[in-house]
């Protein structure tokens, strides 16, 4: 059962709620009820098709941030075995906005790192809405360095509005923490698979986003700036987010076309939150397949190919 509906899903909500109520409370053998249920099923199917077939970038933005959307730890528990979370940057604190550690994927040891958002009010505050301080990036780096040293593949999951813009974050070197991750991830001699699972917000997302294969869920977004932030600056009106979302080309389909990502991972109709198991199975399949393809690539070629991947990003002319 879906707990939270987005504005554009309201017509669907009415139907699904009635359907669920009939299922739960109406007498089973009443032919009138059965007829209504049957009719509702058809209406719901059609409504879903209508709503989700042509989602706008702005609607996807909301889906990517959906409060019930599976987060990094949900995927970790559904995809991996034996996850052991590691903590702390060894300098200042443990940043709960990023999680990471060892796990097993089909028997093989891997290292997983991802942004972690909260689900209820308290948890959201604890996770700082998935907005990391420098310590989060330093923790991620530390855990990934373990992977590099002990030759384990790295899987990262991106889901953040961005790096946290605060006084302490700046004082403790937010920019430098992100920068060092970019530089070091470019040189780790192990396969790195990046999965954009929700919100890919700017430098704070990219800080765990340098890898050999960049995968992205169907309704995830990945952008240089949030559409609201972009609208506030370029349109001088923060409420013009829908226009900015169109212009920024931040959906999975756009980014595949632009050559930024390698693959789109399909979600259940209506979004990842409608079926955790289905979407996790899709993510697992894609990660296992891509890791398999990288497994026997010699170190030098792996690094050269990773360099080439980012080296060619950008558009310009020479005249």
């Amino acid at each position: 059962m879906v707990k939270h509906y987005l504005d554009f899903e309201k017509p669907l909500m009415v139907l699904e709620r009635e359907y669920e109520e009939l299922q739960r409370f109406a007498p089973r053998n009443d032919p009138k009820v059965s007829a209504r249920i049957e009719r509702l099923e058809k209406m719901i199917a059609k409504e879903r098709e209508d709503i989700y077939a042509q989602l706008s970038p702005w609607q996807r933005t909301h889906l990517s941030r959906h409060i019930d959307r599976p987060h990094t730890l949900d995927y970790i528990h559904l995809i991996f075995e034996d996850f052991m979370e590691l903590h702390g940057d060894r300098g200042f604190m443990d940043d709960p906005a990023i999680v990471g550690g060892f796990a097993r994927l089909e028997g093989e040891t891997v290292v997983v790192v991802g942004h972690q958002k909260g689900r209820d009010v308290k948890d959201m505050g604890y996770r700082n809405f998935g907005m990391s301080h420098p310590e989060g990036y330093r923790k991620a780096l530390r855990i990934m360095e373990l992977a590099a040293r002990f030759k384990k593949p790295i899987i990262t999951m991106i889901d953040t509005p961005g790096a946290y813009p605060g006084v302490g974050a700046e004082e403790r070197g937010q920019a430098g923490a992100i920068a060092r991750n970019l530089r070091e991830m470019a040189s780790f001699p192990v396969p790195i698979i990046v999965v954009v699972i929700g919100e890919g917000g700017s430098g704070g997302a990219l800080a765990i986003g340098v890898g050999d294969k960049i995968l992205m869920l169907e309704n995830a977004i990945y952008s240089v700036i949030s559409p609201e932030g972009c609208a506030a600056i370029l349109w001088r009106d923060g409420s013009k987010g829908s226009l900015a979302a169109e212009a920024l080309k931040m959906t999975a389909a756009d980014l595949l076309r632009l050559g930024i990502i390698d693959e789109i991972i399909p979600e259940p109709l209506g979004g990842a939150h409608r079926d955790y198991h289905v979407v996790a199975a899709h993510v697992k399949e894609a990660v296992v397949r891509n890791l398999g393809a990288l497994k026997d690539v010699p170190e030098e070629k792996l690094l050269a190919d990773r360099y080439k991947l980012f080296r060619r990003m950008g558009t310009f002319q020479e005249k």
């Binding site: 790096a163 813009p165 006084v167 920068a179 240089v224 212009a247 080309k249 980012f310």
Partner: protein
Amino acid sequence: MTWFKKKETPSQADKSADVLWSKCNACQEIIYKKELERNFSVCPKCNYHFPIKAQERIAVVADEGTFTEFDSTLAPVDSLMFRDLKKYSERIAEAQQKTGLRDAFITGRCEINRLPAMVGVFDFDFLGGSLGSVVGEKIARMVEKAIDEKMAAIIFTSSGGARMQEGIFSLMQMAKTSAALSLLRRERLPYISVLTDPTLGGVTASFGMLGDVIVAEPGAMIGFAGPRVIKATIKADLPPGFQRAEYLLQHGVIDLIVGRRTLKATLGKLLGFLYQ
């Protein structure tokens, strides 16, 4: 003193005065322009460092006549057909008209007190020195050249951050330039970054903060998030001097603050230390 202030419009006389005199943005002192130029565009009274053009920056640090520019024909394209209140293509054309540059970054080889280096310099006047594909490509190329010719790389930043009109391509320049610098590092070649006012966003969070030695100009605003964003997020006033070079030095974020008058000597000295 009058009770009502008249709205002043600049007269013809004022305009001609502008050619000869400048007013300091910090202490409001009226400075004779020739004197300001002789003083590397630093206020002789309060040490305020005026913003300078990329070419002027090169003149400040490079031995005379040693600078050779690279990749001067690289120019931006509007591949996303980005349009906000104005088309990106129009913004490019206007910036090119205004600055005489193709994009916000100049690269080349030069000597600094007889020591060779690859240098890259931002020009803030071109779309706020924003980090677009051309800037990223020029940095990647200059770093690769530094590796080929076994030289140091020095980048002088002044930038508001990402070029939003290039969307995800702009973001990816952070990864691209940092990846190039990882190769330079592997070759044990020095990289010095010189941060000038202002250096923000993705520029700070990539090559800006990756210097083996990080130098900043006095008073420069340096950060990841801009002060307005931070203020809006934390809903409180920011500490005095926050995100200024002096504040960052105190917090251990940068190595040195160097005034423009001694910048060349300092860079020469650093190269002397770093070159084997």
